[in-house]
Amino acid sequence: MLSALPGRGPAHLQRPLLGPASHLGILRPAMTAHSFALPVIIFTTFWGLIGIAGPWFVPKGPNRGVIITMLVATAVCCYLFWLIAILAQLNPLFGPQLKNETIWYVRFLWE
């Protein structure tokens, strides 16, 4: 969809969703879609390593129980908190309301 925008910036502002705007001749950072599965896998693995695998590696000593408790509690708390944050943004029901100045500069800055 082409939209001619008079005034600011070059006329090539029709942006494809993926990939650089090759007809610009410059490589810009692409606005890639954020996947949901990848962060979930990464963080679940990360906190799972800390919370489930970590306790096996705690050296024997008087503080073993406390350290294991700490590892598991940290993993559970931090994972839960991150999970809530990402789930809350998974299906947004409304979008951000921006000032026109913000729209002007973000439009060209972030894309």
Binding site: M1, S3, L5, P6, G7, R8, L13, Q14, R15, L17, P29, M31, T32, A33, H34, S35, F36, L38, P39, P62, N63, R64, G65, V66, I67, I68, T69, M70, A73, T74, C77, C78, L80, F81, W82, I84, A85, I86, L87, A88, Q89, L90, N91, P92, L93, F94, G95, P96, Q97, L98, K99, N100, T102, I103, W104, V106, R107, F108, W110, E111
Partner: protein, 830 residues
């Protein structure tokens, strides 16, 4: 599990201490700090106990020590701290210490007395010299005249027959504030027959007792007549003036002055000698006092502990009862063996069973001590009850961080705590006396973890000094929205605010992988999104925390042999909590997962659904989240309500059923059990429960105390009401997580917008901005630390603490125990 999971096993031991070795044994036990003595002579007053004489001697010695300490302080010296380990001395040494101390005290008193007397004398001499040296010119000049001056009329005053016309003098010194009154009184009493001249000394003299400089006023009174003279003397006596002989002739006065000066010089030499001797004595005191104080303190403590033992005259030994950790029993026996073999006797200790609740002992290191401290501040756990502290190590900083989340502030807190932790072994840091510093220092590990978690939650909230960071590219594309909606420049110029619509293709590209999307910090409606997110987060965290608390109660019930409570209390509690509020959490998560922007206009409202769930009603405009939602909800509510009578009546009926055969079988035996029941500690709330929970090992049923049905039912009714209503109120209470994090974020944003933002926007010229930013940044930094770190930090600390103490711990923790406080001297070694 770690040793912090529940209290260590504490046993009651009986110690047999032969009289010869009792003192050394107890002294040794005090050094080790293993046992807590029980007072076996509680009914005996302090004056009738066995070792009262020794205690009294120690106390007298301590009084002398206090006197010596006071003298040292008066001389401006500081007592050095005692060095090395000083064990309690054997009783025969007490006499020697007493003699030395008495001798020193007496010498000190004598020297002080001498010094005072000499000083007073010197003061008198100085005053006399000052009075003589002071010139009262006109008066003396007038004395030499023949009376042809204007004083003539006075000589003819109607004072009766002629007295001798010789002028007499009274000279002295008076305090300046009394001088006007003295002058007035003299004038009124002896009008016309005297001339008084008052002069102030140029230099103040040192007061003999206090050492402060004091001003004096000298006076010279010239008068005629003997009666006047007597009157004057009476008046000056009345005013407590110092009166000195005043010779008329100048030379005689000068001679007297010289003599006085000579005398005062000699006196000063003697005074110097006295003070040198005094400092010598003080030096000896400084050597004797610190170790002496420690030793006598320990000795007194040992005698007080010995006073708590009962005497067994047949065996010629003292019997003591003490609480001791089972792990320390071998060490205890070894200590007793060592200290008693020196005397050639043997002291033994063996364990005895007890019905009272033992004290709680949880060993902590310097890291866990602060967390155990905040749990104990609410209440020390009952013996062998599950200890919330190991979980608090992580959940408390985490809940704090949820309310404090900001990378910058968290980093500052973390660095401050890190500095304290790295410097914790420095003596200067440990010896600081400031109470507020001590409070922060003792909680340094707490602050460390709080700062660390705050950095993490700050990243999730995407706030660093209220600024958002774009670590990953944002998931919202403004350009796509602009392109799709045809936002030309003219269009933008007309509309000040425009909203991105996630329904438009390409606008929403997926959830931000770590935390809150940075586009929200630019949005005007960011609070709408954040409030919804944070409220739901608070409820989820709250329900998880509380469910965890109920689950911890399982360990208590299993350990105390009350498995019926698992089925009759824990299960109903969990069903109630999870059936209602766990379902709410499910609704929240379901809506997050399954309701998308496409149906945003008709999105179901969880709040309405939840309300309708309890009211068994239906809102036609609120579409269900999933098919058969109403059926599921109705089932859950009915199930939860059914749990209430189980909770209310289950345990009491079970207990009554279990005890009824016993109650019928042994009515006579109950009287003995009553008496036995009196020995229970007064903190047992209900008879039935105390006996249940003390049977840690599962004793026989015949030792149970009396079970009163009404009390049991009442207790259970209270528990049920507390739990069910508490579920609702406690879940709402967790919303403070949302409230405080909102407050913190807003304060932080306001501070940035009002201070830093303005500073950064000032001045396009290079020089101006640089100069202006310095004071602006200083103001920003001071307000960040004062308002956001200290005030908000304390506030979040308090609320996180409350959440733990009330909402979490009332699900499983009773906190009605007492700590094992072992008999130890370590307080005196500090």
């Amino acid at each position: 599990m770690g040793s912090m999971f529940r209290s260590e096993e504490v046993a009651l031991v009986q110690l047999f201490l032969p009289t010869a070795a009792a003192y050394t044994c107890v002294s040794r036990l005090g050094e080790l700090g293993l046992v807590e003595f029980r007072d076996l002579n509680a009914s005996v007053s302090a004056f009738q106990r066995r070792f009262v004489v020794d205690v009294r001697r120690c106390e007298e010695l301590e009084k002398t020590f206090t006197f010596l300490q006071e003298e040292v302080r008066r001389a401006g010296l500081v007592l050095p701290p005692p060095e090395g380990r000083l064990p309690a001395p054997p009783p025969r040494d007490l006499l020697r210490i007493q003699e030395e101390t008495e001798r020193l005290a007496q010498e000190l008193r004598d020297v002080r007395g001498n010094q005072q007397a000499l000083r007073a004398q010197l003061h008198q001499l100085q005053l006399h010299a000052a009075v003589l040296g002071q010139g009262h010119g006109p008066q003396l000049a007038a004395a030499h005249t023949d009376g042809t001056s204007e004083r003539m009329p006075l000589l003819q005053a109607p004072g009766g027959p002629h007295q001798d016309l010789r002028v007499n003098f009274v000279a002295g010194a008076v305090e300046p504030h009394k001088a006007p009154a003295l002058e007035r009184l003299l004038w009124r009493a002896c009008r016309g027959f005297l001339i008084a001249s008052f002069r102030e000394l140029e230099q103040p003299l040192e007061h003999p007792v206090t050492g402060e400089p004091a001003m004096w006023m000298t006076f010279l009174i010239s008068y005629w007549g003997e009666q006047i003279g007597q009157k004057i003397r009476k008046i000056t006596d009345c005013f407590h003036c110092h009166v000195f002989p005043f010779l008329e002739q100048e030379e005689a006065r000068r001679g007297a002055l010289r003599q006085l000066q000579q005398q005062s010089q000699e006196l000063q030499e003697v005074l110097g000698e006295t003070e040198r001797f005094l400092s010598q004595v003080l030096g000896r005191v400084l050597q004797l006092l610190p170790p002496g104080q420690v030793q006598v303190h320990k000795m007194k403590a040992v005698y007080l502990a010995l006073n708590q033992c009962s005497v067994s005259t047949t065996h010629k030994c003292l019997i003591a009862e003490a609480w001791c950790s089972v792990r320390d029993l071998p060490a205890l026996q070894e200590a007793l063996r060592d200290s008693s073999t020196e005397e050639g006797v043997s002291a033994v200790a063996h364990r005895i069973p007890c019905r009272d609740m033992p004290p709680t002992l949880i060993r902590t290191n310097r890291f866990t001590a602060s967390f155990q401290g905040i749990v104990d501040a609410y209440g020390v756990g009952r013996y062998q009850e599950v200890n919330p502290a190991p979980y608090t190590i992580i959940t408390f900083p985490f809940l704090f961080a949820v309310m404090f989340g900001d990378v910058g502030h968290g980093l500052l807190m973390f660095l401050f705590a890190l500095a304290m932790v790295l410097a914790e072994n420095r003596p200067a840091v440990k010896a600081a006396q400031n109470e507020i510093w001590q409070t922060f220092f003792r909680g340094r590990y707490l602050l460390l973890l709080m700062g660390l978690f705050s950095i993490y939650t700050g990243f999730i909230y995407n706030e660093c000094f209220s600024r958002a960071t774009s670590i990953f590219p944002s998931g919202w594309s403004v350009a796509a929205m602009a392109n799709e909606s045809g936002w030309s420049d003219a269009f933008l110029a007309q509309h000040a605010m425009l909203t991105l619509d996630p329904n438009v293709t390409g606008v929403f590209l997926g959830p931000y992988p770590f935390g809150i999307d940075p586009v929200w910090s630019l949005a005007a409606n960011h609070l709408s999104f954040l409030n919804s997110f944070k409220m739901k987060m608070s409820v989820i965290l709250g329900v998880v925390h509380m469910a965890f608390g109920v689950v911890l109660g399982i360990f208590n019930h299993v350990h105390f042999g009350q498995r019926h409570r698992l089925l009759l209390e824990t299960l109903p509690e969990l069903t109630f909590l999870l059936g209602l509020f766990g379902y709410l959490v499910f609704l929240v998560i379901y809506k997050w997962l399954c309701v998308s922007a496409a149906s945003a206009a008709s999105a179901p409202s969880i709040l309405i659904h939840f309300i309708n769930m309890f009211l068994f009603s239906h809102s036609p405009t609120n579409r269900p989240l999933y098919p058969r939602q109403e059926v599921v909800q109705a089932t859950l509510v009915v199930l939860a309500l059914a749990m209430v009578p189980i909770l209310l009546l289950g345990t009491p009926l079970h207990l009554l059923r279990r005890h009824r055969p016993h109650l019928r079988r042994r009515p006579a035996g109950r009287q003995e059990e009553d008496k036995a029941g009196l020995l229970d500690l007064p903190d047992a709330s209900v008879n039935g429960w105390s006996s249940d929970e003390e049977k840690a090992g599962g004793l026989d049923d015949e030792e149970e105390a009396e079970l009163v049905p009404s009390e049991v039912l009442m207790h259970q009714a209270i528990h049920t009401i507390e739990f069910c209503l508490g579920c609702v109120s406690n879940t709402a209470s967790y919303l403070r997580l949302w409230a405080l994090s909102l407050a913190h974020a807003q304060l932080s944003e306001v501070l940035w917008a009002m201070v830093m933002s303005i500073g950064l926007g000032l001045g396009r010229e290079v020089g101006v901005a640089a100069v202006v930013l310095v004071p602006i940044f200083a103001a920003f930094a001071v307000m960040t630390v004062a308002i956001l770190l200290v005030m908000e930090g304390l506030s979040a600390f308090l609320h996180a603490l409350r959440l733990h103490w009330v909402e979490f711990q009332n699900k499983f923790y009773s906190g009605t125990g007492y700590k094992l406080s072992p008999f130890t001297f370590t307080a005196t070694d500090d």
